[in-house]
Structures are given as C-alpha cells and as structure tokens.
C-alpha cells in the first residue's frame, strides 16, 4: 500500500508541475482562455460540491453568491477605488452573511423543493439588482475601468497571470475540500447526505452543519464571481447572476462524480473540452448546441453511471491496480 500512496504523491506533484508550466508552453491566447474557463468552473464546481456533493443539498442557486461576490468587489472598486483583492474577500464575507437568511429559508424544505427554493432566491437577487438602479447600475451594468497592468488591482497584461490566479483559487478549494473530507465535519456531511433523519438521530446537529458548509460554499463561490468580472472587465445582473452558472456548478460535479475531491475537476475538463470542440466545429452559431449536448451527457450519466466519471475511475482502479472487486 505504501507504493500506491507514493504513486499518488508523485502523480500529484507531476500534475502541479504541468499546471504551472502549461501557460509558459502553450502561448495561444484562445487555448489559455479555455484553460482559465476549465479552472474557473472546476473551482465553482468544487465550491458547490462541498454542500451539494457531500451533504447532498442540491442547490441550483449558487449564482446568487457568484453575483454577490462580483458586485461587492466591483462596487468597492468603481465607487471607492478599493483593490479587488480586498473586494474579493469582502465579497466572500457578504456571500457568507447572505447565505444565513437564504439557508434559513431554503433548508426548511428538503429534496426537490430545496432545489426550487434556491433557484428562486438566486433569481430574486438578480431581479433586485435589475430593478434597484441606485444599488448598482441596473440592467445596463458597467465596465470595470481598465488600468493596464496593475497586479495590485487584479489587472494583468496577458492571460497567463489570470491563469495563475484562478489556479490558486482552485488549489485553495481543493485543499479546503481535502481537509474537510478528512475531518469530523466531512463524516457529518456524508451522514447528512445519506440520511438526514438518521444522522440527526445519532446526534449530528444537521441544521448547524448544513449552515456552516453553506457558508463555506458561498464564500468560495463569491471569490469566483470577483475573479470572473475582473477577467471580463464587465458586470451586469444577467452576467453575474446567470442561471447557467448555477447549472454548470452542479453539472460538472454530477458528471465528474458527486461528493468526490476530484469529481468537479474531471467533470469540467470533459464538459468544457466538449464545448470548446463544438464551438470550433460549428463556428459562432452554437445557440442551443452546447446545452443540448450537456443535457445529453447529464442524462447519460444519471441513467447509466450515477457515480459519475470518478466512479468509473475508481472501479477501474480497483479492478486493475488494487485487484479488489469493483463495487456493485
């Protein structure tokens, strides 16, 4: 067994080296843009997976926190000139605070109606930002002032630096997940995910655990929001609270393997690569194609491989490497 964990450490080290060198080798800005998308959605998926994957609280409203993070840092930067690095953390804080009342409402429902309630809260937040123009620019949104190369304001020349920022975020998300997975909280989360009533019966304080993990998940999702608007230099309610963000957060985790450390990353690599290939085959006119393909992949996974790609990987690992029988 010692050999296997040595292999794990080695392959992880190799992965880190490859990820760090990648933008130095691949100079095409189209390719780096795709890498950034993959890292960003992996990170959002990792944040979603903490709550949706381990505790099986299937939210389709994480766009709420993505948008709050994006708006907090942008408002601080545009109105007061505060660096988005500070705004990013502040946005995370705002998202954590917002997750308390939203969670208080949504956790009253379970299963599918929890999911619907999360959709409704995210949509309601978008409507608030659309309607109340005094809050932040209304429907037109605003462009973020381009200061040229100024790393202290999270603005860089070339895409490589953005790549490293989002790579750092993903690493943060993975480390947090890895720590939680191995803590008491991780076991509580899985217990809640398996059977909430049974978990409560053996003394798990389910409401508190769910509240805490929702706060962590919201915090991380908000960081992604700040990064994204800094990357595209633009914000409006339709971008920041886009329902597709909520969908993709859940989708990459489910396709990759719900409740696993690497599942969201693997899922994003598959989905975003598919989407990039479709775009290069079909040109610009892909209205509907991408999501049609996503929906088909999702249905295939649900009907034939509910454990996702990670489930297939670990079955293959058991069969060929550790020679134990695969799970039924």
């Amino acid at each position: 067994m010692a050999d296997i964990s040595k292999w794990k450490v080695l392959s992880l080290a190799a992965l880190v080296v490859v990820m760090l060198v990648l933008p130095q080798v691949v100079k095409s800005s189209f390719a780096v843009d795709i890498f950034i998308r993959i890292l960003l959605f992996s990170f959002i998926g990792v944040a979603w997976n903490l709550m949706g994957g381990y505790a099986k609280q299937l939210s389709l409203g994480h766009a709420a926190y993505f948008g709050l993070g994006a708006y907090t840092s942008t408002i601080m930067q545009v109105d007061s000139g505060i660096s988005p690095w500070i705004g990013m953390v502040a946005g995370g804080g705002v998202a954590m605070l917002a997750s308390l009342p939203i969670g208080w409402l949504c956790f009253r429902l379970r299963g599918p109606y929890f999911t619907i309630a999360t959709i409704a809260t995210a949509q309601a937040l978008m409507l608030i930002f659309l309607k109340f123009r005094d809050l932040a620019w209304g429907a037109e949104g605003t462009t973020i002032p381009n200061l040229g190369s100024s790393p202290l304001m999270m603005q860089f020349e070339g895409k490589a630096a953005y790549y490293y920022v989002v790579l750092g975020l993903l690493a943060l998300g993975l480390v947090i997940t890895w720590r939680i997975e191995r803590s008491w909280m991780g076991y509580y989360l899985v217990a809640i995910g398996e059977n909430e009533d049974a978990a409560e019966a053996i003394g798990v304080n389910a409401p508190r655990i769910k509240r805490d993990i929702y706060m962590i998940s919201a915090f991380l999702t908000a960081l992604a929001g700040t990064f994204y608007v800094q990357y595209i230099y633009f914000i409006d309610p339709a971008t920041a609270f886009n329902f597709n963000i909520s969908i993709e957060a859940a989708l990459v985790s489910i396709v990759g393997g719900i409740g696993t450390l690497w599942g969201p990353v693997i899922g994003t690599v598959l989905l975003e690569t598919t989407s990039a290939l479709l775009q290069s085959w079909l040109g610009g006119s892909t209205g509907g194609v991408q999501l049609t393909v996503y929906a088909l992949i999702l249905m295939t996974v649900i009907l034939w491989r509910p454990a996702g790609l990670m489930g297939m990987v670990s079955d293959a690992y058991r069969r060929y490497v550790s020679r134990k029988p695969a799970r039924a």
């Binding site: 299937l58 109606y113 409704a120 409507l127 309607k131 999501l291 049609t292 929906a295 649900i302 509910p306």
Partner: protein
C-alpha cells in the same frame, strides 16, 4: 380605483386558470410518483408549438387543436415515465431531480435549435375581441382559455374521484406499498399520472396560443409559477394547487398594476419566500414531502 382593482383581479384570474393547468400537473406527478418534474414548462412549450404548426400549416384553430396536443402529450408522458423516470425511482434524490432537470434543458435547447428563438403567434378571429361589461374589459381568448382550463380541472377531479383508475392513483399517492398490496400496479398508475399531467400541460399550451407567443423559453415562466403555487397549495394537493394558482395569477396581476410592469415576478418570489418563512407546509397545512 375600485374598477382598476377589479380589472386587475379579473386579468389575474384569467391567466391563473392557465397556471392552474400547469401546477395541477406538477402536483399530480409529485403526489403520485413523488418526483418534481422540472420539465413541465417545456411540455407547455411543446403544446404551444403543436398548436402553432397546426394553425399555420392547416389553419386549425388553436383551441380545436387541443384534441391533438392533449393525446400527443399523454403519449409523451407515458414514454417519459416508462423509459426515463421509472429507472431513477428510489431513495436517492440526486438522479430524480437532475433527470427531469436535464430533460428540461434538453427540450428547451432542442427547441432553440429546431424553431429558433423567434416569437411565434397565431392570430384568430377572436384574438382581438373582448366583452365590455360595466366598464370592465374581458378578452374573449383569455375567457375561453379560463373556461376550458376550469372544465379540464373539473374533469380531472371527477376522474380522480369517480373512476377506478383515478381512485387507484389516489391510493398510490396516499400509500404506495399498501396500494400495491391491494392489487394496484404502480408502474401503470405512474404512467397514467405522467400522461395526464403532460396532457394538461399540452392543453395549457394550446389554450395560450391565441393570445400568447410561443418561444423556446416560454415554459420557464409557467413552471416557476407552478412551483410556487404547488408549494403554497401544499405539495401533492390538487385543489390546493388550483386555488393557489388563481391567487398567484391575481397577485402577479396586482403587482403589475400597482408596483410596475416588471414587478410581476418580484411579487411571485416574495410570495414564495413568505410562504417558506411562515407556512413551509403550504397554506393548507399538511406535510412537507
């Protein structure tokens, strides 16, 4: 002032009848099969496109095309239950939620590919007609839609209470295991539930067509209303869903009249959040899930 309020209430009730067809479908599926059909709005959309093509190709009146859209969607419902939903029924929430969600995503984007994002309308001889009663304005197309919708809801109630199959469905909704012991075949009952629910969605689509545009995203408007109405009316309760849908129509219409044209949805969300905060089991009481 009073006239404006009454007019807004009438407008709300008329559209609420359509919401009712959608939410009764959602609550019927939830009550019997215990899943939430996220794709219910997309079946309204399909019903609308069926009526649109029958009207534009063959000149068939959208209301008359009910006799095509309802059976067609009944068959679709049986197929969806038999080939998709049946395979994910079990204790695990994830596949159930995301299967119908994926179906919604698939149908919506296929519609975008096949029909483009253009708005399609059907103009009938009664599309612009209206009754004027004591200063009130009642559009004929909406009145027909409301009356037919209420008629169908009534027919469903009779079906559930007076036929063996309907009673079997209610029995399966109340206690699936005991119903199975009494000789009810749950697979068959579930197929009928899906078929009936989708037929109602198809009917809603056809009834909307004389006064509403068909476009790929149209279902999202109606399914959101339906979810709120179903939560308010206590999950799985057909009469509750009907009353809540009419209330929602009125609330939305009053919101548009007195808060602003873009505020209909805000009122709806506010209602949902208030319901969740103070009456999470729905206005009628009863159990969650």
């Amino acid at each position: 002032m009073l006239e404006t309020v009454v007019q807004a209430v009438i407008n709300g009730l008329l559209i609420g009848g359509i919401y009712a067809l959608v939410s009764i479908g959602v609550t019927l599926i939830f009550g019997v099969v215990k899943i939430v059909n996220f794709a219910q709005g997309e079946f309204v959309m399909i019903g609308m496109y069926i009526s649109f093509y029958l009207a534009s190709q063959f000149g068939i009146d959208p209301i008359v095309s009910l006799v095509v859209s309802m059976p067609a969607l009944f068959v679709v419902g049986v197929l969806v239950q038999h080939f998709l939903i049946r395979r994910v029924l079990g204790p695990n929430d994830m596949p159930q939620i995301f299967l119908t969600f994926a179906l919604s995503l698939l149908l919506l984007n296929l519609a975008l590919l096949l029909f483009s994002a253009n708005y399609r309308t059907v103009h009938t001889s009664y599309s612009d007609e209206a009754f004027h009663l004591a200063g009130l304005y009642i559009p004929v197309a909406k009145l027909i839609a409301f009356v037919v919708a209420m008629g169908l809801s009534g027919a469903l109630w009779v079906f559930l209470h007076a036929t063996d199959l309907g009673k079997a469905m209610r029995a399966a909704a109340q206690n699936r295991d005991v119903a199975t012991l009494m000789g009810i075949n749950p697979d068959r009952v579930f197929c009928v539930a899906l078929g009936v629910a989708l037929a109602l969605a198809g009917a809603a689509g056809s009834l909307l067509m004389p006064f509403y545009s068909a476009y790929p995203f149209v279902g999202q408007v109606f399914v959101l209303m339906a979810f709120v109405a179903v939560v308010m009316g206590t999950l799985g309760n057909v009469i509750g869903a009907l009353i809540a849908s009419l209330l929602m129509g009125v609330a939305e219409s009053l919101g548009i009249q007195f808060v602003g044209a873009d505020s209909g949805l805000i009122v709806v969300f506010a209602l949902l959040l208030l319901t969740l905060a103070f009456k999470p089991n729905g206005l009628g009481g009863g159990r969650v899930r």
